[in-house]
Amino acid sequence: MSLANIRQGSLVLVDAARVQSRGAIYVAQARIRQMMKWIWMIIGIAIANPVLYLISVGVGLGGLIDQSVGPAGVDGVKYLTFLAPALLAQAAIQGTMDETIYPTLEGFKWHKTFYSMNSTPLSGAQISYGVFLTALFRAFYTVVLYFGVMWAFGALESPRAWLAIPTAIFAGASFGALMQAMAGKLEDENIFFVVLGRFVMMPLFMFSGTFFPLTSMPFFLQWIGWISPLWHATELGRHLTYGHAISPTMIWVHFIFLGIMLVLGLFFSARIFTKRLAK
């Protein structure tokens, strides 16, 4: 064993400027390395989830609905075609949530790995962006796989349906960024998970026009859809996959809503990470 090689003080060796420009990528690379330990499970879930959903709700329940509504269909199409874009966006949101909330809790609380990252030239903001980039990566392949299953089920009618992939990822990114900022604030995660699951995710899933058009809800419940990234992404997805009619103004509204959410989420999560690490 040679110790002669343990050197110190190589001021030339480390280039802080390089880390300043690429830090978030280094964090994402490390996170993806972790993710690769579970990759088959993640891919399995990413495929099984749409297959099961589309069979049970799309084909099973959808068959019943299609029979009763007749040739007019739901929003002019088969129920499966109507439902699929919503599930696509939901899958993106679930994927980014998993990849932002858990790593953030692990980094600050469970194993305190963010503190070790922060003892290198990496800044709190870079750590937050790196975690976020990883979540985007997860959302990307989750959505691509989901989209493949949708195609196999014949749920895509428009030639530009593939554009629903980026809009779904966009929704995932917006919600994920906000969740990451929230998770960065958490001291006690147990209550958070209960509240998030039962009072946020569940209502969003049920009341975002996922299973039926938002307009068939009583007016006083429609606001849930309006604040839900899932509804905005679902509207865009329906427009793109089968030509659901929305006005150009509303297309802008959907994009701007998701955009604002994304910018706020990223801004606050960078700030919260920086502050918490500097305590």
Binding site: M1, V14, K37, P121, K279
Partner: protein
């Protein structure tokens, strides 16, 4: 002497009303092994986090490698190797991967880090554990891995916060051996500890801290010389009689300290003092003559023991 690598004046850190570090001054020079000795809660870790350019000070000045950490955190951290009190390793990754990703955080090229990982695994005596998950390592192995990780960027200063707390005696000795080798090579070490034996073994110069303030500063030998006598006689009369006897013993030497289980008598010649005690017809149940240690210095300065 050359310019100090670290220089602090009036360094203060408050958390709300609580003052964790209370206006401390110190300088650390290149190649020296500098220690913060004090009990838990003395403010050592807080001071370390400020020096590590992560935690922001409340007031005072500090310069690390000639820079202010508030303005140049990343540039300073690029040249520090930090071993925190808690091994915040990545539990899901292997031993080698932990070293690799950490090296990448410094922006080091892949090929360089790969070579470095082999070197560090050898240094930390973890070659056989290369592909093992960190979860499966013993406490001592995790600690060595954390130290190896801190060396990946060939830092100017290696900072160790309580390096051997929670380790069994054998693991401590292995670790001390590794640290001693680094010290021999002239690596600048900054260590916090509440173990006096660790401070004596590893530190050239020490700051004794208590409740956020510096109580004394100097080499272990100088501190002992300045704040204690050459020898200490420890006598036990049984816990119910120690106090009563202490009053009689007080007149026989420079200074005594009553602890719950024993009385410490400070003197230049322990054996002679013991004879005097017997001559006075006092009969301790047990007695022990030993050299003064940093524990005695701390007791003298604060009236308390290091490990409570």
């Amino acid at each position: 002497m050359s310019n100090p690598l670290i220089s602090a004046r009036g360094l203060t850190k408050k958390f709300g009303d609580f003052t964790a570090v209370n206006g401390i001054d110190f300088d650390v020079y290149k190649g020296e092994s500098f220690g913060f000795l004090g009990p838990n809660g003395a403010g050592k870790s807080t001071a370390m986090r400020i020096i590590g350019a992560t935690s922001q000070r409340t007031s005072g000045t500090i310069s690390i490698l000639g820079k202010d950490p508030e303005l140049h955190g990343p540039q300073i951290r690029a040249h520090l190797g930090v071993v925190p009190q808690q091994d915040n390793l990545d539990m899901q990754l292997s031993v080698a991967e932990n070293l690799y990703i950490y090296g990448r955080y410094f922006g080091l090229p892949r090929s360089f880090v790969k070579g470095k990982v082999d070197e560090l695994l050898a240094f930390a005596q973890l070659e056989e554990k290369r592909d093992a998950k960190v979860e499966t390592l013993s406490g001592g192995m995790k600690r060595r891995l954390t130290i190896a990780r801190a060396l990946v960027s060939e830092p100017e200063i290696l900072m160790l916060d309580e390096p051997t707390t929670g380790l069994d005696p054998q693991a401590r000795h292995i670790l001390w051996d590794r640290l001693f080798r680094l010290k021999e090579q002239g690596v600048t070490l900054l260590i916090t500890t509440h173990f006096m034996d660790e401070a004596e073994q590893l530190c050239d110069r020490l700051m004794v801290m208590d409740k956020g303030s510096i109580m004394a500063e100097g080499s272990p030998a100088a501190l002992i010389k300045d704040y204690s006598t050459k020898e200490v006689l420890e006598v036990r009369f049984g816990s119910d009689r120690n106090q009563e006897m202490a009053d009689k013993l007080r007149t026989m030497c420079d200074r005594i300290e009553e602890l719950p289980d024993r009385v410490l008598m400070y003197t230049e010649d322990g054996e002679a003092l013991l004879e005097k005690i017997y001559a006075a017809n006092l009969h301790p149940k047990t007695s022990l003559v030993r050299r003064s240690s940093l524990e005695d210095v701390f007791l003298r300065l604060t009236g308390r023991t290091l490990i409570e």
